[in-house]
Symmetry: C2
Subunit: 347 residues, 2 copies
């Protein structure tokens, strides 16, 4: 899934070039590229499928040239994750009726690939010949209020077990209770299932979306597909896969793991994954040459620039400084929940 | 005089494009353009002369297309103001042996043109048929420690009077004494004299420089001038006109005026001349379209951008934010004396 616009990381992430296509960490690779490479141990390059917005199709091809054109699916408009997953699932099923599928966001970070691959492999083994739905559960390391949680009776790492309940993003006190309890995992939004399972689950719990897909299916892999999708995709109910299926199906499982995962959903989350200097400043200067970033009397800052010139920062504490494509953000980390509002054009 | 590099206003002013060529105030005109236009009431366009660095000759022509090519004088290297003024004076004298001259920096601001023109006219009248040297004295409005002062017994506005003494930049207590006393004026570095006077004063007090100019003079207005100047100009002693002439000559006068002048020599000085919002923030967004600058919880800041994108600033107090040609400065106004050091490349 590569259709998001990542508005909380503005100006690093913009609707023109969202987070998944950006070298957020200064590694020389975009997050979508890192995501594809992370799954290569369990999936051949020709078996990757990407659902994205029409406007990002060319960008996806640049970042993932191995993915066949017909496996880059263009949404004419965002309808949340259920229609996105339905489109990919119906199209995959037409060619691979027994496909075992991992659905993943393309803009998250995983540092421990071995642990992650082990969990994904366990989940794939569990879904290959069953109607299990497995959602990856991340063993929490702090009382995070920015993620949804998965409640399970048996949070044993690497073991596929039943989910008791999904929990919305908690308040701080509840998050601390979850962390202490040990039976709650972060919901990473990574799902594993067989194509037979997800199509029949969508048919059962989201029949309107299934109906649109059944009508579109005869056009798949033909010259008519793009036009048909452009005309009818927007008829799908706008609903997340969590509401449409995960909270309704009785087949939901999880596999706990601690692969040092982050959704990189905020500047604060990003800061945790960039090495800091002695004063706690995390600096990423991307692009050819990179900027000459000079800090004086600064502490606890995250600085992200894409320029090739000189950046002088003096006297900033616990702040975000991001300079990208000529856009500039300076903001206290404590106020980062307002960035979307700050950066939205006023009328 | 248009050879300075204005390092205290980095990154607005850089060696590649210093302050005098910049639309510092967001008026649509550079400071050198504003300077020329300010003198049009007393000087025809074809009688302007500019001394600048070789590297800025093309830029001067862009900003002042009315000035004849042979009146844009290129210094092969900076030797301070005495050789700069000598070169222009010797060259002017060769063509206009009775010229009455105003020497002025090209990067200062004057808001009250009528008062200024009156003072300049008085000075020109005083020097036309005498050997008077008149330096413009600005009636101080605050105990400024960043300027030199002129001591006179008769600081009457608009009257050309004798100077008692020049004073270096004072400390705060001395500046307050000067302000209270009333007999001290700011030295704006603007000089008025007849070409006969300044050439003979230089010959008397800076004979080494006069000797270089005498040797160069036969090449003036010929094909050899550029090559001769490039070879010999650097032989001149590196000295300011203040030390070379003003402090030695017995003919020094001043004319007091309060034309709301500023040397715009620092971000703090610049901030005083840009209208502020209710929170004391002064914002200049130059260039086609200008940036969309949005301030949240900011006060007492000066913001100067040349971009056409979005700039979001949150939580900054009494700070400088300047984004120009991809260079970025964020600095407390109280630390601005360190900007030159901050912005100098490290080895």
């Amino acid at each position: 899934m590569a259709g998001g616009i990542g508005s909380r990381l503005w100006p690093l992430s913009t609707p023109e070039m969202p987070k998944q296509f950006i070298d957020v960490l200064g590694t020389g690779k975009s997050l979508i590229r890192l995501t594809m490479e992370r799954f290569l141990p369990v999936c051949k390059p020709e078996h990757f499928w990407v659902v994205t917005s029409e406007r990002y199709v060319a960008t996806v091809k640049e970042h993932l040239p191995e993915v066949p054109d017909e496996q880059i699916l263009a949404e004419p408009e965002p309808r949340n994750t259920a229609p996105c997953i339905a489109y990919a699932s119906w199209k995959i099923r037409a060619k691979y009726p027994d496909a075992n599928i991992v659905v993943t966001p393309s803009d998250a970070l995983v540092l421990d690939h071995e642990v992650f691959t082990d969990a994904i492999s366990k989940a794939l083994a569990a879904t290959e010949n069953s109607d299990a739905i497995v959602t990856v559960g991340i063993t929490p390391t702090r009382p995070e209020t920015g993620y949804g949680y998965i409640h399970t009776a048996e949070p044993t790492p690497g073991k596929v077990v039943k989910v008791l309940e999904f929990k919305e993003k908690p308040d701080r006190a509840t998050a601390e209770k979850y962390l202490a309890d040990g039976a709650y995992l972060w919901n990473a939004g990574i799902f594993v299932w067989n194509v037979r399972t997800i199509t029949s689950e969508l048919r059962a719990h989201a029949p309107q979306i299934a109906g649109v897909m059944d009508a579109l299916a005869p056009s798949f892999y033909t010259d008519r597909e793009a036009a048909e999708v452009r005309t009818h995709f927007a008829e799908c109910e706008k609903i997340s896969i969590d509401y449409a299926v995960m909270e309704k199906s009785p087949h939901i499982h999880t596999v706990a793991c601690n692969p040092r995962w982050s959704d990189l959903g905020s500047w604060g989350a990003l800061k945790e994954h960039i090495p800091a200097d002695a004063d706690g400043n995390a600096v990423v200067a991307v692009g050819p040459g990179g900027s000459d970033v000079r800090l004086f009397d600064c502490s606890g800052c995250i600085v992200h620039t894409d320029g090739t010139r000189t950046v002088v920062l003096q006297g900033l504490k616990d702040s975000i400084v991001s300079l990208r494509n000529g856009n500039l953000l300076i903001c206290k980390l404590s106020e980062e929940q307002h960035i979307k509002e700050y950066s939205t054009p006023r009328n």
